[in-house]
């Protein structure tokens, strides 16, 4: 870091850059990330410290909800709650038990297609689906869980047990919980989800859960609150992670079943479209229920009077009476959160940090910025398939073969000035040099197992020459031995400024070492498609969860199957042409998946990191923290919450226990003192 700065100062002061760069560099370990004071540190606890399931002597609710009970429109609170509700422990709450009232105003860029999540309809993302569907397990708050206790958190599934041979998993549901319309939640809902959604080939739920998602297991109902899953392989722990948000989040079978063709529904298409986005009060297990939707304007959610979570003093959750989702654009979300018209945003574009910080430094500013760990990281994926994945043309095939040449990869890695790449997004201590592989600061990271090729144009050029690439025609770019210009295409997406900036930086830096790189700039959806079908040489990629948590999507860490890796998949004939280091990575990852011994798993990840970084499995670029923009009035926002780790920040901060002190409430509720009405009613209902 200091050397870099000195070099920079020298450049600025006009000392020739050549003197600094002339010496050849050797691989080393990466520099430590710069100290960054604004970064929050999570308080690490065990899962059982956060909540437990137990009966409390008495329960309470907001006074205005009691009016509904008095009017005979609702049963008393104790009857609405399960026998043993989920109780959040006060000790784990950053600001303690809260008070009722107020609203959290989100802004989202998506639009709801309808409410049949289980037939594939999206709610519009941005936390609204996380709010409306509750799942068997939960992963978001795991960022605060000790690595020794790292397993998904119970949620609708109260507990689970593996059989001795690890091939049977018995799951117990919370008993006596109810849907927001008062119907019981039990294994009938599980049965419908499993047999009529997952196992029905005609139905594709959102996120596409299929038997393979649950290790091709079979499911058997034991009683109203117990079911069993049986697997061919022992201990497929990934199943438990796949029961969290996105997949095993059962729908209200009493509502959905009559529309399903198997039970007299008209057709699969009619089933899909049976609850369009203008149908209100769709039953939910979540903390809030939809009561209003003005197209392209707003979605309003009111508290679920049957919500099955409470605090230790017996107050039924959620604390917040209302949730709003402005239907705008994703870019608008940051602006509104900063301006104070929105309450919440995941700020992940480093380019906006400086302005947001400036604004929030003001005493009167509505929002604050909470920086998490540096888990937003970018790499360049290198396409390793030389046997036909993505149908390369002659030029691309030549590049693929270069990609498989270790000297070529090292040359590129030496040629990347990662400090400058980070600075091109935002200067200062936000970004850190990222050589690839697991992130510094995550639980499986080991610095000594990480190999870093420090920036050096000279060394890069020397390695290019070693790979047989020399500029023979004097146009400034290296040629293949047969005289053709080397031309690499870098795929990137244009929907995010960050991706564009990094791609442009890579092109400029490669030009400095004499490598011609051309951009292929595509909208996000086409970019994803091109990448996953292998139609790229290099691709700017924002790392996904497997490199952050390791335990989620573990198979993607190496090409252990024909389609498991992002940068090396099988050709149409199903054949993989793995290089020796890849084969070793496959062995390590398979061993990791099979192992239940924490010490062994740590050791295996060290080996993995070494193989990954030494052989330059991807070109790591930069890593930086995301910032949660959250309105200052909210209490119980956990420290160091990452905007994305096991799940999005909307899940991480446990919104049902977030509250606003009475004197800070802003009175922005659109439907004060109302509760969700009956399914199909135009809006919420009032007590009288």
């Amino acid at each position: 870091m200091h050397i870099r700065r000195a070099a920079l100062a020298a450049l600025l002061l006009g000392v020739s850059a050549v003197a600094v760069e002339a010496e050849m560099m050797a691989p080393t370990t990466p520099p430590d990330a710069p100290k960054f004071d604004a970064q929050g540190e999570p308080i690490f606890v065990n899962r059982s410290d956060i909540f437990e399931y137990k009966a409390l002597p008495a329960y309470s609710e907001p006074a205005w909800v009691t009016a509904f009970v008095d009017a005979g429109k609702l049963p008393p609170v104790a009857e609405r709650l399960p026998k043993e509700p989920l109780v959040y422990k006060t000790a784990n709450m950053p600001d303690g038990n809260g008070v009722y009232g107020d609203v959290m105003r989100h802004v989202i860029g998506g639009r709801p297609e309808g409410w049949n999540f289980w037939a594939g309809q999206s709610y519009g993302w941005g936390g609204i689906d996380i709010q409306l569907v509750e799942c068997l397990t939960r992963t978001g708050p795991l960022f605060t869980v000790n690595s020794t206790d790292l397993q998904p958190m119970p949620n609708l599934a109260k507990s689970w047990e593996w059989s001795e041979d690890g091939k049977t998993l018995t799951i117990k549901l919370i008993e006596g919980a109810k849907w927001s319309d008062g119907d019981a939640f039990d294994t009938e809902d599980i049965d419908f989800y499993w047999n009529d959604i997952v196992m029905d080939p005609e139905v594709t739920p959102l996120m596409g859960a299929a038997p393979a998602t649950y290790s091709d297991g079979t499911l058997e109902i034991v009683d109203a609150y117990t079911f069993k899953m049986t697997f061919a392989t022992p201990f497929p722990e990934s199943v438990l992670y796949n029961m969290a948000y996105g997949n095993f989040c059962p729908g209200p079978s009493h509502i959905l079943k009559p529309k399903h063709p198997k039970y007299g529904g008209e057709s699969y298409d009619a089933f899909l479209k049976s609850f369009p986005a203008d149908v209100m009060n769709f039953p939910s297990m979540g903390s809030h229920v939809i009561v209003e939707h003005r197209p392209d304007d707003i979605i309003v959610l009111r508290r679920n009077p049957y919500y099955w979570k409470v605090d230790e003093s017996g107050q039924q959750l959620p604390y917040l009476d209302e949730m709003q989702y402005r239907l705008s654009t994703w870019a608008d979300r940051d602006v509104q959160a900063v301006a104070g018209t929105g309450d919440f945003s995941n700020l992940e574009q480093a380019e906006n940090y400086v302005e947001a910080l400036k604004k929030s430094a003001d005493e009167a500013a509505p929002a604050r910025l909470a920086f998490g760990p540096r888990t937003i990281g970018y790499s360049v994926l290198i396409n390793f398939s030389a046997n036909g994945w993505g149908e390369p043309d002659a030029r691309a095939q030549k590049v693929r073969e270069l990609n498989r040449n270790p000297d070529f990869r090292m040359a590129v890695s030496y040629g990347l000035d990662r400090q400058r790449l980070g600075d091109s997004l935002v200067k200062g201590p936000f970004t850190t040099i990222y050589p690839g592989g697991l992130y510094a600061g995550t639980s499986f990271y080991d610095k000594d197992s990480t190999v870093y090729y420090p920036f050096s144009v000279e060394t890069a050029k020397a390695h290019l020459e070693k790979a047989g690439l020399v500029d023979t025609d004097g146009n400034g770019f290296v040629n293949y031995p047969d005289g053709e210009d080397v031309s690499v295409v870098l795929l990137h997406q244009v929907d995010y400024q960050t991706d564009k900036n990094l791609a442009e930086g890579v092109v400029a830096m490669m030009a400095d070492i004499g490598l011609q790189v051309t951009l292929n700039s595509l909208p996000a959806k086409d970019y994803d498609n091109a990448r996953d079908s292998g139609k790229y040489d290099w691709s700017v990629f924002r790392n996904q969860t497997e490199l952050i948590t390791v335990v989620q999507n573990t198979p993607m860490l190496a090409p252990i199957g024909p389609t498991s890796s992002r940068s090396h998949q099988a050709n149409p004939a199903g054949a993989l042409d793995l290089m020796p280091f890849e084969e070793e990575m496959v062995k390590v990852v398979n061993a990791f998946i099979a192992s239940r011994d924490p010490a062994e798993r740590v050791e295996l990840m060290k080996q993995y990191q070494k193989l990954y970084t030494e052989n330059v499995n991807t070109f790591g670029l930069t890593a930086y923290p995301g910032a949660l923009i959250i309105n200052k009035r909210f209490s119980n926002i956990p420290a160091g919450a990452p905007i994305y780790m096991y799940n999005w920040a909307e899940d991480n901060i446990i919104r049902e226990r977030v509250w606003v002190a009475a004197d800070k409430q802003i009175g922005a509720e659109l439907h004060p003192n109302t509760l969700p009405g009956a399914l199909g009613d135009a809006g919420p209902m009032a007590a009288n």
Binding site: L13, V354, K358, S424, K427, G428, A508, D526
Partner: protein, 373 residues
């Protein structure tokens, strides 16, 4: 673009053939009197010369990098010893200290080290037009160290140098497309308006299709239609072809309207009756009269094209790096941090303003000279 269809044309038609002087000389004599016109001419010439010798006028290699987001160097006529006749530059340096709020390294001019600015300074070597090796640059620092008159961009590249080099592609696209538009639009408009009848009817439907053509999706789709590895000249020709291919229709409609009203004026009818050939009528009577309109349309068209490209840049369509254009530079301008913290990155807006002003002034001057009323 301007529509002059309804204009009263009768009164000025006589000025052309009545003079014994050569038409061009007359126009030039009138043009010289117009101050904004001359200013425009000078500026346009300067822009073209700078674009032509961009490598020489750029104070630095546009791809060389120093510190990112560095503000412009401090240029001053004062040193510690007092006033100097020749300005000096104080380079920006970055300190180890961080701003307590934004965590940005503090930057500021190094007041200890004034470096004299010199013309024809020796800088990093380059090849003029990729052929002639040179190392002198129009302006630079006496000791050859980097000079950032307009600061640096995200990758620490000099903005002025990029602006100068970027003028090449931006002006080239604008000039070539406007030339094509003018030629096609004028010819098509006069032909259609003069011939009239069935041809006119059919042709105007065709023009309508072009006018109603969904330009936006075409531009948005364009990037994906050109092969990624196609050489840059193919990309540029494509852009020019599309701009010209869609741009001529509006002009042709306006010229057609003008031609139609002109063809009905008595003396033209008289000329026709006397047996003057179509070519003569068109070149002697119609063309000169639509020229003033065409010139205004052209001068307004150049800025329109330059602005169109900046809009497309906003939507993500621009030349690809490492090529440099103003539109591409403007893409970096669309963030709040640039507006709030790095305003010098907005400089390309200034380049666009300058170019647009120059062509507008030139056009106004010409218009007044050709068409003095």
């Amino acid at each position: 673009m301007t529509t002059h269809e309804g204009e009263v044309a009768d009164d000025r038609t006589t000025t052309i053939s009545a003079t014994s002087q050569s038409y061009a000389a007359l126009v030039w004599r009138r043009f010289r009197k117009s101050i904004p016109g001359m200013l425009g001419l000078v500026l346009v010439s300067m822009l073209l010369i700078i674009a032509l010798f961009a490598d020489f006028f750029a104070p630095m290699n546009p791809n060389a990098s120093t510190a990112s987001f560095a503000p412009p160097d401090h240029i001053s006529f004062f040193t510690k010893d007092g006033f100097t006749l020749w300005p000096v530059a104080y380079s920006i340096t970055e300190s180890e200290e961080l701003d307590p709020i934004t965590y940005q390294p503090l930057m500021g001019p190094d007041m200890e080290n004034p470096r004299p600015l010199v013309l024809f300074a020796k800088g990093s070597p380059y090849k003029m037009w990729g052929l002639i090796p040179m190392e002198r640059r129009f302006i630079g620092l006496a000791d050859g160290s980097p000079l950032h008159i307009l600061g640096t961009d995200k990758l620490g590249r000099d903005i002025l140098a990029r602006g100068v080099v970027g003028s090449r592609i931006s002006l080239m696209i604008a000039l070539v497309s406007i030339t094509l538009i003018t030629i096609i639009g004028t010819l098509a408009g006069i032909t259609s308006g003069y011939l009239g009848g069935k041809f006119d009817l059919w042709f105007q439907r065709f023009v309508e299709i072009i006018l109603a053509f969904p330009q936006l999706p075409l531009y948005l789709a364009l990037t994906t239609l050109i092969p990624v590895t196609a050489p840059s000249y193919i990309f540029l020709s494509f852009v020019i072809l599309v701009i010209a291919g869609l741009g001529w229709a509006q002009l042709s409609r306006e010229v057609r309207g003008k031609t139609m009203s002109m063809a009905r004026i008595d003396y033209v009818r008289a000329a026709t009756a006397l047996g003057a050939s179509d070519a003569r009528i068109i070149t002697r009577h119609i063309l000169p009269n639509v020229m003033s309109h065409v010139i205004v349309a052209v001068t307004l068209g150049i800025p329109t094209i330059i602005l169109l490209k900046s809009f497309l840049g906003f939507l993500g369509f621009a030349v690809k790096p490492p090529l440099i254009s103003w539109g591409l530079m403007l893409q970096d301008a669309g963030t709040f941090s640039v507006i709030g913290s790095y305003p010098w990155i907005l400089s390309p807006v200034g380049f666009v303003l300058l170019a647009v002003f120059a062509f507008n002034a030139l056009g106004d001057g010409l218009r007044d000279a050709i068409d003095p009323y």
